[in-house]
Symmetry: C2
């Protein structure tokens, strides 16, 4: 049975913050990465497109980095939202995080043509700064491990033309 994320934090981002190429639901050309809770862990399931290859048969590392990036900001948003007493789908706007740093260790070549699953554990290191550790699996094989430090979006993320 195919696993799906039924309630994702990205579904609830305010429209103004839903344009991310990785995870914005309003970006028509984007990846539409979606992240939800699975018990105390966060989970993202994403199947790369045929062109997202490193070599034929293997997933492009930059796409795995993108998956971990948006899984990280989404996981941090889930965690702070829960700390504030909210869950995805409850009608309240979640916080929006950006990435301060991203680290990926590529452990094994990642096979193409199967859904990838990122599992996250989230840790608060400051009220506005959260760390997310992620493991990326393909067919139950651990292929990459990542760490994201995510911060609540600062005011510097305002369009210069506004």
């Amino acid at each position: 049975m195919e696993e799906v994320v039924t309630r994702a934090i990205q579904d609830d981002y305010p429209d103004d913050f839903a344009w991310c190429y990785g995870c914005g639901r309003l970006n028509e050309s984007g990846h539409h990465i979606r992240t939800g809770w699975q018990g105390e862990n966060t989970v993202t399931i994403f199947e790369p497109k045929p062109e997202h290859m490193a070599l034929p048969g293997f997933v492009y590392g930059g796409l795995i980095a993108s998956l971990i990036d948006c899984h990280g900001t989404g996981s941090a948003a889930l965690a702070l939202h829960r700390k504030n007493g909210h869950e995805p789908g409850d009608g309240s706007e979640p916080p929006r995080f950006v990435t301060a740093s991203l680290h990926v260790d590529f452990l094994k070549p990642t096979p193409h043509g199967v859904p990838l699953k990122a599992i996250g554990t989230v840790e608060e290191i400051h009220p506005k700064r959260w760390k997310v550790n992620a493991e990326v699996y393909a067919n139950d094989t651990l292929c990459a491990r990542g760490e994201v430090v995510a911060v609540v979006m600062p005011n510097t993320f305002v369009r210069k033309d506004e």
Copy 2:
């Protein structure tokens, strides 16, 4: 005057290894990232597409990670190729690297709509394992700093169906 990379290592990758979504010249849907020498440094110039946004006005971090990733493998290939007595365009096939680890520190929101420039410094830490430090500039502003550990492509990168 717009800067361009005239001789890129990716132009010389063997056809079988030129399919990367980030930097493969044969991947029609890919980014076509190209990396060349600039004195003792390596350089990649890449302009994100309109959809590659985090928010309107700012570049998606996963794309910056992808730029650093392919800039890293390309820089390592340039350096080992030069160590072997070759330069891009001299008719010899360069080595092909894959990424072992990728780290990105996002220093400032990266403005959209201008070419990004990655500048690399390459260090041999083992004959088959090279470290690339990268700085990513937009309009001469340092927006991100990255580190890639790249290794000569192992035999595990062979299609399972072959």
